[in-house]
């Protein structure tokens, strides 16, 4: 017995090696078979290498003191100095707080809007639904520059809304200059711009519901409301949960385009978020590339962790929604 063991293990080793060789030969064969496909991959890979991966190398600036003459690689290492400097700034904590608060406000207020719209649109005739949808989704295709131009004109102290308020005998409201109102405005314009577009996903989910469920509910005498609550809503549960999860995963992105184009110094303390702060310390105040890269890295790492976590949970709920 003691002799057979080493022999058996030797042959097992041999078998394993043969299998590995076989596999490698198969791999080579496959690569040869598709060798003409690889060149097509090169363009995309080159794009990602240059414009996505090379900038990741630039993150080393977070640990350096950037000097223009020396470039990224030549600048001196300073360890964690940029981070200690950052954490000592009280404005950083207020910016971080703004980012999270604005994100959460938007997520919570936005979440039910497209679901409600989808359920309501589903109740009206096709032609009306189509017309409404064209109106609802148009803002999605415009930039925040355009939208904020329109909104700021509407809500400025000399704008139409304040004109109406005065006409009705009220006092002018500083929508763009009062912190709390401005945050409300951010949430409202987000819903205004994107709810109509988001609702299409839910409408697709509603279209996929088995019609016989509704038919038997009608026979049982269910009302319109009961059908919505007991049939439609439960079938939107998965889609809704995943969308909510993904927006929570994006909590560090409170909406740069929107805020950057709408805010002004009077609302910095309520609306300045990490991304706008990064822009300002990079290009507007005395530029400090090391410091702003450090803010970017701080944000990027937390964002990445949250996204991976959201992706993991979403994957547990349904394998289709998993990205990695």
């Amino acid at each position: 017995m003691s002799f057979t063991a080493p022999i058996a293990s030797a042959s097992a080793k041999e078998l394993k090696q043969r299998a590995r060789e076989q596999k490698r030969r198969e791999l080579y064969r496959e690569i040869r078979r598709y060798r003409s496909v690889y060149p097509l991959l090169l363009f995309g890979v080159a794009f990602f290498l240059v414009f996505a991966y090379y900038p990741m190398y630039g993150i080393t600036l977070a640990f350096k003191h950037y000097s223009i003459g020396k470039g990224i690689s030549g600048s001196d290492w300073v360890g964690l100095a940029n981070f200690t400097k950052l954490f000592d700034r009280s404005e950083f904590w207020s910016v971080l707080n703004n980012t999270i608060v604005i994100s959460l406000l938007k997520t919570i207020a936005f979440f039910p809007a497209p679901i409600l719209l989808a359920i309501l649109i589903n109740e009206v005739g096709r032609r009306l639904a189509r017309t409404l949808q064209i109106v609802y989704t148009l803002p999605h295709f415009l930039s925040w520059v355009t939208i904020s131009a329109i909104m700021m004109n509407l809500l400025a102290s000399s704008g139409a809304v304040n004109g109406l308020i005065e006409m009705l005998g009220g006092e002018k409201v500083g929508f763009l200059n009062e912190g709390a109102l401005f945050r409300f405005l951010l949430v409202f314009t987000e819903i205004w711009k994107e709810a109509g577009w988001s609702c299409i996903i839910y409408m697709a989910a509603i279209a996929g519901i088995d019609q016989s469920q509704y038919e038997s509910a009608i026979i049982d005498g269910a009302s319109r409301f009961q059908k919505a609550v007991y049939i439609t809503l439960p079938s939107l549960k998965n889609v809704a949960a995943i969308l909510l999860l993904l927006s929570l995963g994006n909590v560090m992105n409170a909406g740069f385009d929107q805020i950057f184009n709408m805010y002004n110094p009077t609302v910095y303390n309520a609306a300045d978020i990490l991304d706008t702060y990064i822009y300002r310390i990079s290009f507007m105040q005395a530029a400090d590339y090391g410091l702003s890269t450090a803010v970017g890295l701080f944000k990027g790492v937390i964002n990445c962790a949250l996204l991976l976590f959201a992706n993991y949970i979403a994957g547990k709920m349904s394998s289709e929604s998993k990205i990695i």
């Binding site: 990741m56 990224i72 520059v145 329109i150 990445c304």
Partner: protein, 298 residues
């Protein structure tokens, strides 16, 4: 006769059934008006004379028509250069986007060894990015400051568009390409002659997505373009809002008394929205297709 009568609900029943629906239609219409009104207001501001706007900025209809805002922007050369820039960025940018997306989607749709690694390599960039300063320094080091390429090159592949395109390519039957291969066609030929003609609806969809992004481009312009005559439209609008005096200073004296900053701003905004607003209702089905195909991942 009996049948016709029984199909028609009695008046009481009909009214009872209609009330909830009327409420729903009312709610949806009110939301529609809320979405529509800001646009309508912008149109009004752009077509009334300054005196009317100052007297009462809230209007339901234009009390008096005055197109001097539009007359002014027609003669404003910076704006026409903005249009030129945006057109250049859109045309070449979308071509660049589509080329990169389609070639990569084609390669990844084949069962090539290593596609998992490449997939991960691509998707990782959604989770983590280099950030503002490293990207800015890259463009600077490449010597692309003030070059149109700085607005075109950095946005190449939208990962969702790549995935949508790839899953569409999966659906194209292998037999078609095998026949072409037997005739000696190379990969580029197969992609160009077989895959692309068969995926026209999908190409239109992602092409439109890219078009919208390019048309709305402003941030790369802000970062990289030093000369005002190379700014895209959106950046001009942004700058106009930040400093209204910069426009009024540009005004020729002949129009000065009639035009006002808000009117000009809204006229420019309307002019940039018009192409999107006109095309959009016709193209809506393509946009929606992309969203539902990308599904949750969009």
């Amino acid at each position: 006769m009996d049948k016709a009568l029984s199909r028609k609900p009695s008046p009481e029943r009909r009214r009872k059934r209609d009330i909830p629906k009327m409420i729903i239609v009312a709610v949806l219409t009110v939301w529609g008006l809320i979405v529509f009104y800001p646009f309508y207001n912008s149109v009004l501001v752009s077509i009334v004379p300054m005196s009317e706007y100052i007297r009462q900025p809230f209007m339901l209809y234009p009390p008096e028509l005055d197109f001097s805002s539009y007359k002014f922007i027609l003669s404003w050369t910076t704006l026409s250069s903005g249009f030129k820039t945006t057109l250049i960025v859109t045309v070449f940018g979308v071509a660049y986007n589509l080329f990169l997306t389609v070639t990569m989607a084609y390669a990844l749709a084949k069962p090539i060894p290593g596609r998992r690694i490449v997939n991960l390599f691509v998707v990782f960039t959604m989770f983590f990015q280099g950030g503002l300063i490293p990207s800015f320094l890259l463009i600077k080091d490449l010597g692309l400051m003030d070059n149109y390429l700085a607005m075109i090159l950095p946005t190449g592949i939208g990962i969702m568009n790549l995935m949508i395109m790839r899953s569409y390519f999966y659906t194209i039957p292998v037999e078609l390409e095998e026949a072409a291969r037997l005739d000696g066609a190379g990969e580029f030929t197969i992609l160009l002659r077989i895959f692309m003609p068969l995926s026209m609806p999908m190409l239109a969809t992602i092409g439109l997505y890219y078009c919208v992004d390019r048309w709305n481009e402003w941030f790369h312009g802000l970062l990289y373009m030093r000369s005002v005559d190379k700014w895209p439209l959106q950046l001009l609008i942004r700058n106009m809002l930040a400093s209204t005096s910069s426009i009024t200073n540009l005004m020729p004296d002949s129009v000065k008394p009639n035009v006002f900053a808000q009117g000009i701003q809204m006229a420019v905004v309307i002019v940039t929205i018009i192409p999107v607003a006109i095309l959009y209702p016709f193209l809506q089905k393509y946009f929606v297709k992309g969203l539902t195909l990308g599904g949750i991942k969009g």
